[in-house]
């Protein structure tokens, strides 16, 4: 075990693309943690998916050995997810630290996620080490970034470090500053053990690996542990640290950050935020801050091929072992057959799950339009509705509530008007506005979550020429005037296309879907009416005119083979269509009509 006095636990927090992963790479270089030939960019982002998307999904912790003035220190770098879907995971990772590097791109200055993460770090009581990165860039404005960081953190400009994670300039000074400014961990070495689970991963051979920060006592292999929230007991198989490869140890003591091979087979049994103690020497109080993961965005997942239902179920069962935040329940749709209603932390999380299902399990999926979870209140009872088709008819309930968020937006002041217009149009109310600099403004808006999960981020970017940044946190529920819009094809409602939207926007939503579908549905033998309806009231209508010509003009002796092949292709295409009432709808139409624009962080 390492003497707590020589341990520093810290995270790097920043806006996306401000250089967090590159800085982590430099730390690994300087501490010789990874042999040079194994070094590759963004070393800590392990999953292929992460590497491709250039983001970090799973927090990782790595122990770095660094000598300063003759003393060797164990620096535990805890990497945090960089996306708003994972705010709770970020807060748990920060709870495992005593300090944080607050990293700002010298060319960009403070952005929305800088503010949000700084806020989280302050709440966690961390020592903040402000750093301006990318000082080597020609377009860097180091003095301005320094000024903004000093103002945000209340620290003197001299205290702001200046580095280039790319070239390594200033990074040794940063390591020294971390050792000096971040306090060593403290805890009761002799008390009953308490360790915070700040992340977990699933290993196909060894089961759930919990990433932990030991607060009191110690954890050793072959101990009988207890998860205090889930009340699950199991036998520890191994404890150790990542350096960055797993390195087993005899024990993890006070202040240490490492892993525990828990012996459990389902990540749901080792939840982020839970406290590990010993069954035989139980702590009286868990560590504060545990929260059940709460899916915010729901969508139906259906196999493109009906035969793939069982493989999809198996894939979901496997995937849940490694993703505690993801939930699902079987459902069926008249249009799409058998599938699952799935809950996600946000749109990015939804994309990740879907991509993993398609990639790791070789499935081809249709996802229905995502929606937020509504609360329907009637006769004092509150029911959560995850699927638009479960929305009760108007008049049968007292009220509906929808989730809200507080969005933090940073924009150049020249685009302020456009941003305010956008937020107003999305039913927002302004909470706070302040100038970070004469030409940059921070705005805080209270907005319905449903209004920002679709194309809000794209809109924000396009209205500010890409300069605005966005972050948000959940802010409870509020009553809302919501209605269900149904889409009818040839008078048959297509449940997969139903959506619950604000009354004022219902007609516009209906029109948009109906217009989209008119382009996607092939002409049939008869006119196909595409309608959008609220209850029995039709709010939009388009017609796909009956096709009149579908024949080969010429067909003589030499054409038979070729034309037969043409027809065989058409036949295969027809087989892939789904029948809704009398109407043949290609899979592609479902996929394209239900496609959503992406959220922030993309």
């Amino acid at each position: 075990m390492t003497d707590p006095a020589r341990i520093r636990n810290f995270a790097i927090i920043s806006h996306i693309d401000h250089g967090k992963s590159t800085l982590a790479d430099r730390f690994l270089d300087l501490t010789h943690a990874v042999p040079e030939r194994q070094m590759r960019e963004q070393f800590l982002d392990r999953m292929d998916l992460e590497r491709e998307r250039g983001i970090t999904i799973k927090a990782q912790a790595v122990r770095l050995r660094y000598e300063l003035d003759g003393t060797e220190y164990a620096l535990n770098l805890i990497d945090t997810p960089g996306h708003v879907d994972f705010t709770y995971e970020v807060s748990r990772a920060l709870a495992a630290c005593e300090g944080a590097v607050l990293l700002v791109d010298a060319a960009q200055g403070i952005e929305a996620q800088t503010l949000a993460n700084h806020h989280l770090a302050e709440q966690a009581g961390l020592a903040i080490v402000p750093v301006v990165n990318k000082i080597d860039l020609p377009q860097a404005d180091v003095p301005e970034a320094v000024r903004e960081l000093a103002e945000l953190t209340g620290q003197a400009e001299e205290a702001i470090l200046r580095v280039s994670a790319k070239t390594g300039e200033g990074v040794p000074d940063l390591l020294a500053a971390l050792i000096e400014r971040v306090p060593p961990p403290t805890g009761d070495a002799d008390g009953p053990p308490r360790a915070l689970i700040f992340d977990s991963a699933y290993d196909a051979y060894r089961g759930v690996v919990a990433y932990v920060r030991v607060v009191d006592g110690q954890l050793s292999p072959r101990g009988r542990i207890l998860m205090m929230a889930t009340r699950l007991e199991s036998e520890t198989e191994e404890v150790g640290v990542f350096a960055p490869d797993p390195f087993p140890l005899q024990a993890l003591g006070v202040g240490e950050v490492g892993y525990v091979v828990t012996g459990v087979k389902d990540v749901r049994q080792a939840k982020v935020g839970d406290t590990i103690t010993l069954a035989a020497r139980k702590a009286s109080q868990p560590l504060p801050g545990y929260r059940e993961p709460k899916p915010m965005v729901w969508s139906g997942l259906y196999p493109v091929e009906g035969d793939d239902f069982a493989p999809l179920r198996d894939a979901l069962d496997k995937l849940r072992l490694s993703d505690a935040a993801f939930v699902y329940e079987p459902e069926s749709s008249r249009a799409l057959g058998f599938g699952f209603r799935c809950g996600f932390l946000g749109l990015l999380h939804m994309d990740i799950v879907r991509e993993r299902l398609e990639r790791e399990f070789d499935l081809s999926l249709i996802a229905t339009a995502p929606n937020v979870a509504f609360r329907v209140v009637s006769a004092g009872e509150v029911r959560e509705v995850h699927n638009p088709s479960e929305m009760p008819p108007p008049g049968t309930y007292e009220r509906v509530e929808e989730p809200y968020v507080v969005a933090t937006i940073v924009t150049p002041s020249e685009h302020l008007g456009a941003v305010l217009d956008l937020c107003q149009a999305r039913r927002g109310s302004l909470e706070e506005m302040r100038y970070l600099a004469p030409e940059r403004v921070e705005i805080r808006y209270l907005l319905p979550l449903a209004e920002i999960i679709f194309d809000f981020f794209d809109q924000l970017k396009s209205r500010t020429r890409g300069y605005a940044s966005l972050d948000y946190e959940h802010a409870g529920h509020q009553e809302a005037d919501l209605v269900r819009v149904d889409i009818l094809l040839h008078a048959e409602s297509v449940d997969a296309f139903s959506s619950v939207v604000h009354r004022e926007k219902a007609a516009a939503y209906g029109r948009r879907m109906v217009e989209r579908l008119r382009e996607l549905i092939p002409r049939q033998l008869f006119d196909v009416a595409i309608q959008a309806a609220i209850g029995t009231r039709i709010v939009a209508r388009e017609t796909v005119r009956a096709k009149r010509k579908d024949v080969l003009a010429k067909c003589y002796g030499g054409d038979v083979t070729r034309k037969r092949k043409l027809l065989e292709k058409q036949k295969a295409g027809k087989k892939r269509m789904r029948r809704v009432g009398k109407v043949d709808v290609p899979q592609e139409a479902f996929i394209a009509a239900l496609r959503v624009d992406r959220g922030p962080g993309q």
Partner: protein
């Protein structure tokens, strides 16, 4: 009186791949600037016929069809010699239908008279349109006047079985211009008309122009309007609509082409020609020079063959036979499919058969797919 065809009766197709110029829409196996190969090519056709004679012994041929390309790029003597050779090698029925395609600009009265004397009984002329603007847009070299003159010459030469080919829906064509073409066509009283919707075929200059956006793709709804105008005008002129794109005065249906749709056997001679016999399909090399070389070496110029499996053969049978106005046996069509077509006015029942109406014929592919979907 022409013979009626029994299911084992065959047709003989003879491909002449030479044209004076190539038209932008055409995807046939045809070449401009090779007409000088004509005599050698006619020789090779005779040789090819001789090589097939044994295998086709005992098969009665009820039709011969010289197509192209432009068969009338050959001298009439060469054509006469071909017909004579075919009659020598094969059992050609007395009174067989012997068609020759002709380009109005390649024939005059004298030529046509010699063609008639050579044993050609039926003439098929590529008129395409009587509207000069449409002819120009199709890149046809003849004029409306030369088409009219050629038709007159054909009649004067004794041809009492003449087809005129038309293409509708080219750029620049309107419902009015097409009606004008139909009126003129009916006025000169051909015995048979083929009217084809302009189709953008892969690999053609037209396809290239459409793909690159230089000209718009034909509008299927306008083509449907033009098709309906043809159905209406030609019915009024006494023509029977017996196949998707073919109309004839009673007794003037093209026996040879009916063979394809009825699934009768056929032997194709010439570059790129296709054949069908005993469930086997095969085809010749496409390039004229390779064709000449193969036959020069005494070999059949076959490039490939296939034997459709039962499902493929069934698909062929269905998609070929639904093209005909006489339709298919009612038993082929499941009740729910039949109901959809009958109620939509797309098909009718007659004497135990299920037949597409004029409007329904334009949707023949859809019916094929509906019938095929039932098998799986």
């Amino acid at each position: 009186m022409r013979p009626s065809a029994a299911s084992a009766d065959a047709g003989l197709y003879v491909h002449v791949p030479f044209c004076l110029t190539r038209c932008g829409y055409c995807d046939f196996n045809a070449y401009a600037g090779l007409s000088h190969l004509g005599p050698a090519y006619a020789d090779a056709l005779r040789r090819e016929a001789r090589l097939h004679a044994g295998e086709w012994a005992g098969v009665r041929f009820v039709s011969i069809y010289l197509g192209g390309g432009t068969p009338t790029t050959l001298a009439p003597e060469a054509i006469a010699a071909l017909i004579e050779a075919f009659r020598g090698h094969f059992d050609v029925a007395p009174g067989a239908e012997v068609t020759c395609e002709a380009n109005p600009d390649t024939v005059d009265r004298a030529y046509l008279e010699r063609l008639r004397a050579a044993g050609i009984t039926r003439l098929s002329m590529g008129v395409q349109s009587f509207d000069p603007a449409v002819l120009a847009s199709l890149e046809r070299i003849h004029s409306a006047d030369s088409a009219r003159r050629a038709f007159g010459d054909a009649r004067a030469s004794g041809f009492d079985d003449v087809n005129l080919d038309f293409i509708y829906g080219a750029r620049g064509e309107t419902l009015a211009s097409w009606r004008g073409t139909l009126d003129e066509a009916v006025a000169i009283e051909p015995d048979h008309l083929s009217c084809y919707a302009l189709t953008v075929e892969p690999g053609t200059p037209l396809r290239h122009k459409v793909a690159s956006g230089r000209i718009p793709a034909p509008d299927p709804d306008l083509q449907a309007d033009l098709y309906e105008a043809a159905c209406e005008r030609l019915a009024a002129g006494g023509y029977e609509h017996y196949e998707v794109s073919n109309w004839a005065q009673p007794g003037h249906e093209c026996l040879h082409n009916l063979g394809y749709w009825e699934g009768r056997p056929y032997l194709g001679l010439g570059a790129g020609a296709h054949s069908f016999h005993h469930g086997r399909r095969w085809w010749n090399v496409r390039l004229p020079q390779r064709y000449l070389d193969q036959l020069g070496a005494g070999r059949l110029p076959i490039e490939g063959e296939e034997r459709p499996d039962p499902a493929e053969a069934e698909l062929e049978r269905v998609f070929l036979s639904v093209r005909l106005a006489r339709g298919v046996p009612e038993s082929w069509v499941p009740a729910d499919v039949a109901r959809a077509y009958l109620s939509g006015g797309l098909a009718r029942r007659r004497a135990g058969r299920f037949a597409l109406t004029d409007r329904g014929m334009l949707l023949a592919n859809d019916l094929v797919l509906a019938l095929e979907a039932r098998d799986c």
